[in-house]
């Protein structure tokens, strides 16, 4: 019961922190490096949460949200990974599930953004009628995004709980653990080459 409550609270918190990515603030509170240890602490595994978070961050830092690009969602990735680990999966498998969860959230985010295009004529109509309630539209947008991400994290937690009951799952762990041990190096490579490229080009 308490575990289920923790998962619910974690999902809601992930939804709230996720707003920081695009919609509100943008203080980087939505980055996996922060979401990981916070959700890990909430679920009794701060060390693993921090590790999952920073490794996801190292890979996700490769993507830049310029223009209308919807990069893989780091908050969804960290939340799914930590909740998968809390559900009983090994950190290595949780990490790769989180990686997939972040990528698969992009189409959801794309649809949410696209759906808001239809709001423009409605808002213009309201303004013409003298009704200035922009804040309500923005609050509605944030509420929908919050609920979508929280629900998505919850769905991954449920999936992980089911996966943890699959017999013979331990057979994949030697492979996932070895690949997981190489992920920091993959991330460090991304970090190094990002700045190296910048050093050798103008501007």
């Amino acid at each position: 019961m308490i575990a289920a409550l923790k998962v619910l609270v974690s999902s809601a918190l992930a939804g709230l922190l996720g707003l920081d990515a695009v919609q509100a603030g943008q203080f980087l509170l939505s980055r996996p490096a922060f979401v990981g240890p916070v959700l890990g602490w909430l679920n009794g595994c701060p060390l693993e949460g921090a590790r999952l978070g920073i490794l996801l961050e190292l890979l996700y830092i490769d993507f830049i949200p310029v223009g209308g690009v919807v990069p893989p969602n780091g908050t969804a990735a960290a939340a799914a990974a930590v909740l998968a680990h809390a559900a009983g999966l090994a950190p290595s498998l949780s990490f790769f599930l989180g990686l997939a969860a972040g990528v698969l959230y992009s189409p959801v985010e794309y649809r949410l953004r696209a759906s808001r295009s239809a709001w423009n004529p409605l808002i213009e109509e309201q303004v013409r009628d003298g009704i200035f309630v922009l804040r309500r539209w923005l609050a509605k947008a944030m509420l929908i995004e919050n609920a979508a991400l929280a629900g998505y994290a919850l769905a991954w937690a449920a999936l992980a709980a089911l996966l943890a009951r699959v017999p013979g799952l331990a057979r994949v762990y030697p492979g996932t653990e070895f690949a997981y041990s190489l992920m920091p190096w993959l991330g460090l490579s991304g970090l190094y080459f990002r700045f190296r490229t910048q050093m050798y080009k103008k501007g």
Binding site: Q23, Q26, I64, V66, A179, Y192, F195
Partner: protein
């Protein structure tokens, strides 16, 4: 007015949509200024509708555009022929949004954001936590240290972000009307070069630290061939990442390939896995 606009600018992208990008947030940011400039509801309506048009820029630098537009609206309201005064506004707004997007993307997304990860790793390393490098290292670490890493990055990054949001409003307002307004308020090229150099130096330091720790964790515990294998694998992964990027593939391709190969060797063929450190 500025205080309210500043606070509202944190929600610039709340209504981001594919048709007009940041238009809802931009109009919301500008609303306090428009209410002050146009007490007449009809004029306020017209002004708000003007700013529900398409706009897209870097969120932290949007303040420069908002400040500029507020000043232009103020001048237009006081002009004998407001229509003529507002004629150049869409062009100026678009020019500024594009220029500041380019500067902001390079500074914030391209440099400061990756630097927050570097800071996090360096804070953890300074506190003696290397779990971020060795995935099966489970020595106890305090929660304070675990949170101090990301918090250092957040404070560092947000200090720049908040400063430029605030300064952008004042700068934009003071030189409103010019399509180059605010672009000369700082030596952006120098800042970009400086951040690139600092980021590269930190990257080198972290790589050096990582390989030193790898050698230290294995020192005296394994022979030369083992050591070569343990140092060679991380190098091979780094080369794989570089090659993937050269062929236009993302980091996920390299991660997927590493996972597939590991599963094949250690889960399917049943080879005995080994740890990168002892």
């Amino acid at each position: 007015m500025f205080g309210s606009m500043f606070l509202r600018s944190f929600f610039l992208q709340a209504g981001w949509n594919y048709e007009r990008f940041q238009n809802l947030g931009f109009a919301f940011t500008l609303e306090p200024a428009l209410r002050k400039i146009y007490p007449d509801p009809e004029k306020l309506k017209a002004a708000l509708l003007r700013h529900l048009a398409i706009v897209n820029t870097q969120p932290y630098m949007a303040s420069f555009v908002a400040g500029n537009v507020a000043a232009m609206e103020e001048r237009a309201a006081a002009a004998p022929d407001p229509e003529a005064a507002l004629k150049s506004m869409p062009g100026v707004k678009q020019a500024l949004a594009t220029s500041f997007a380019s500067i902001g993307d390079r500074i914030f997304w391209g440099r400061l954001k990756p630097m927050t990860v570097q800071l996090c790793v360096l804070v953890w390393a300074a506190g003696g936590f290397y779990g971020w490098l060795f995935t099966s290292l489970n020595t106890p670490v305090s929660l304070a240290l675990l949170l101090a890493g990301p918090a250092a990055g957040i404070v560092f990054y947000s200090s720049f972000a908040v400063y430029w949001r605030w300064r952008g409003l004042g700068t934009g307002y003071s030189c409103g009307g010019a399509s180059s307004c605010g672009l000369d308020c700082s030596d952006w090229s120098r800042s970009i070069r400086l951040l690139s150099t600092a980021g590269f130096a930190m990257s080198l330091a972290i790589l050096l630290l990582a390989f030193s720790m790898l050698a230290a964790f294995n020192c005296g515990s394994c022979g030369k061939p083992d050591m070569l294998l343990k140092a060679g694998l991380p190098l091979a992964v780094m080369v794989l990442h570089r090659v993937s990027r050269a062929f236009g593939r993302s980091v996920f391709f390299a991660a997927g390939l590493t996972l597939a190969a590991s599963l094949l060797f250690f889960s399917v063929f049943g080879l005995k896995p080994f740890s990168l450190y002892l």
